[in-house]
Symmetry: C2
Subunit: 430 residues, 2 copies
């Protein structure tokens, strides 16, 4: 809460000034950056990739300071693993930047244009949002990933990472900024906040005239803190409590493959399945084999009473469990009397993230698609597909579960907005 990378004491006045200056510089940079050609931005992304790999020794040395601090603070091995940089991880970040350089630049696209009866030609043109603030925890790769997406979409970015990776983050941003300078782009397009006091987040969230959007990435506590204290619009997802509903008309072999994939392929992520809903008419046929497959993969099953009548070895589910985002090899199983019951359950416990149905019935597939309120509704495929890369957005900066501006995976387009452009020939209003 009160460590800083510098040894000097940092008081509130300093903090206000530091973040205000960063935001002001960011705004200025964003104006220049907004008009920069794609070629120049892509060159910078490629140079960043090159420089990160070339300077991997420096990065790893700075990262070692963070790792050492984390060890002395007694952080868990899992936490320490998350913040560690390795040559492979640096390489992966570099490849990510190269991939972003290959994506279409959304800025400048005129998405619509129409003519009014009075001859005015009216269009909507994509423009960058301006300044984006990213508030995140642990993984230092976010520093480069987020900076790359913001740069490509013409936005200046202020990166406020956690104290546990401050040395790594500053080392990464130093390299990224070198590439900006080399490519004649404004250096302040990418800035890491050098102070890690939590107070600086509060000050940052007040700067609505300088910062256009805040994206928090981290645990639910961080996201709620940001959301409750921000005067700047926030794009967020709290959690993914995702369901798969196995309909009475499901192809049960397909259902088994899809549910297994949704749970075990990568359990620690937000689009993994947390609860499986099964129609009562197929439960007896489906559940014994399905649950055996889960258990073989090390999944702990928590079943409703009806489930336990069919497979007596499963644990009993607690009422509270339906709300849980386990992010682990644990799964709730519930038998439902109808698809309407499944939809009601999802409406009550789902997090509007990702919901799937397995069915071979046309009407049920359409009804589920229409009625379920989630950023992605999937028929006959794994919930794991709700992801910017998998859906073809190219890359993503997060998955929004709030409906404003973007709902679902946010790619480069979601980091832009549109302005109206109007071509007249002397029209006045009567």
């Amino acid at each position: 809460m009160s460590e800083t990378v510098s040894k000097k004491p940092v008081n509130m006045k300093n903090i206000q000034q530091i973040i205000f200056d960063i935001a002001k510089n960011s705004k200025e940079a964003s104006i220049k950056l907004s008009g920069s050609p794609s070629k120049q931005k892509d060159d910078a992304l490629l140079l960043m990739a090159k420089l990160l790999v070339e300077n991997e020794d420096i990065l790893i040395n700075e990262n070692k300071v963070d790792v050492k601090n984390a060890e002395s603070k007694g952080l868990s091995d899992a936490m320490i693993d998350r913040l560690r940089l390795t040559p492979e991880r640096i390489k992966k970040v570099a490849v990510g930047l190269i991939e972003v350089s290959k994506l279409n630049d959304p800025v400048g696209e005129v998405t619509k244009m129409w003519k009014r009866p009075n001859g005015l030609l009216v269009g909507k043109k994509r423009i960058p949002l301006g300044v984006i603030g990213i508030i995140y925890e642990s993984r230092p790769n976010v520093t480069a990933d987020a900076a790359g997406l913001c740069l490509k979409s013409g936005n200046a970015v202020i990166l406020r990472g956690g104290s546990e990776t401050i040395n790594s983050n500053l080392a990464i941003s130093k390299i990224l900024r070198e590439a900006l300078v080399e490519c004649n782009l404004p250096e302040n397009s990418i800035q890491v906040v050098p102070v890690t006091d939590r107070e600086i987040i509060l000050e940052m969230l007040k700067l609505e005239d300088q910062i256009d959007l805040i994206i928090p990435r981290g645990g639910e506590g961080l996201i709620r803190f940001v959301s409750e204290n921000s005067r700047i619009p926030v794009l967020k997802h709290y959690k993914g409590v995702c369901h798969t509903y196995v309909d009475e008309f499901a192809n049960l072999n397909m259902a088994e493959e899809i549910c297994l994939n949704a749970k075990v392929q990568r359990p620690g992520v937000c689009n993994a399945m947390e609860t499986m809903l099964v129609h009562k008419n197929v439960a007896e046929e489906f559940l014994p084999k399905m649950i055996k497959s889960f258990v073989d993969k090390g999944v702990q099953i928590k079943g409703c009473e009806e489930t336990r009548k069919i497979v007596s070895t499963v644990y009993s589910v607690a009422p509270d469990d339906w709300h849980k985002e386990y992010l682990d090899l644990i799964l709730n199983v519930k038998i439902v009397g109808s698809m309407d019951d499944a939809i009601s359950h999802i409406s009550q416990y789902g997090s509007m993230h990702t919901e799937a149905i397995v069915t071979s019935n046309y009407e049920n597939s359409q009804k589920f698609l229409d009625r379920v309120d989630a950023s992605a509704v999937i028929i006959n495929a794994s919930t794991r597909f709700n992801d910017g890369f998998e859906l073809g957005l190219g890359a993503e900066i997060g998955i929004s579960t709030s409906k404003l501006h973007a709902f679902g995976p946010m790619g480069l387009e979601e980091l832009t907005t549109s302005k109206f452009i109007i071509y007249g020939g002397g029209q006045v209003r009567t």
Copy 2:
């Protein structure tokens, strides 16, 4: 601050419960409404129009109570005029609802669809936002206008009008709700908050699980209050400080017509021009005639020193004036040395609302269009065209000057969001 329409004292606990119940009912209504066919919504809009006109006596009687209260409180004549309902105004509201019924229903439109290499078919489908809260002042027509737009876009609406029109607002909503019931739509799709204590706004702004979007409509004070206290996303425009830049390559006759229209056609609105910028190379030729035209129309001119050298009779502009949204027959005039100076001035003093250039030079038109950061940038036409009707959106619920979700006039499409719909054939992730 503490008047209520009921005579009973309302305490904080009551207030929390009242607004929570309204929001909960609204959420429930929104779920049913989101799937309602266009025909049903259009029938309700037409019936609303009919019932409002048929019941004009009731509406005018209730409105008289508000007018009497306003008079006894000593409100200005202009204020009282704004809240008054007349048969003509009621007719206009009804016509507005009929117009909205004719617009395309945005809900359900699949705006894009593409196939992934693994065969997944991915689409984006428009859905309503859910529950929209409108917080507004004075004009009772907003009650019906906003309710109509929300209904057509499939959203439930909570209307929190000012205390000065509470009786009118309740009478209008009673009629609108009758039409909903008659057309088998959920009655709670439209609710007027019956309590006018300002505390209820604070409680309303906390209900982020029930309300999806807040739109404040009113003075800058109200909008800032809402924006600073809301946990729910807010779509807002603070003010319109709009400029017209008369370039050195302008057709000066066209420039005169455009500038005159932008200032005097309706000075009290946000897209009226507040400052005219003139290139120094045309100032001597352009300004004397232009200023005479303005003065003939009763416009008070505040000029920079250079302007006063050319037309000595104009008032002197104060540094603070460049920031002002006059909403009146007052205009700042400034002579600039270059288009870059004009763009800098706009960047410093503009409100990102509407900015226009008059020029016959291609490069300057494109440069102005690209560089000026505003929700609408206009070449060779009046700033007055930045309006949902004029740009062809059909209707508007406001003009957003924040960049998230919507930037510029907000029509029916801006009252929706998109969810990803994914058609699979058994795909799992590898």
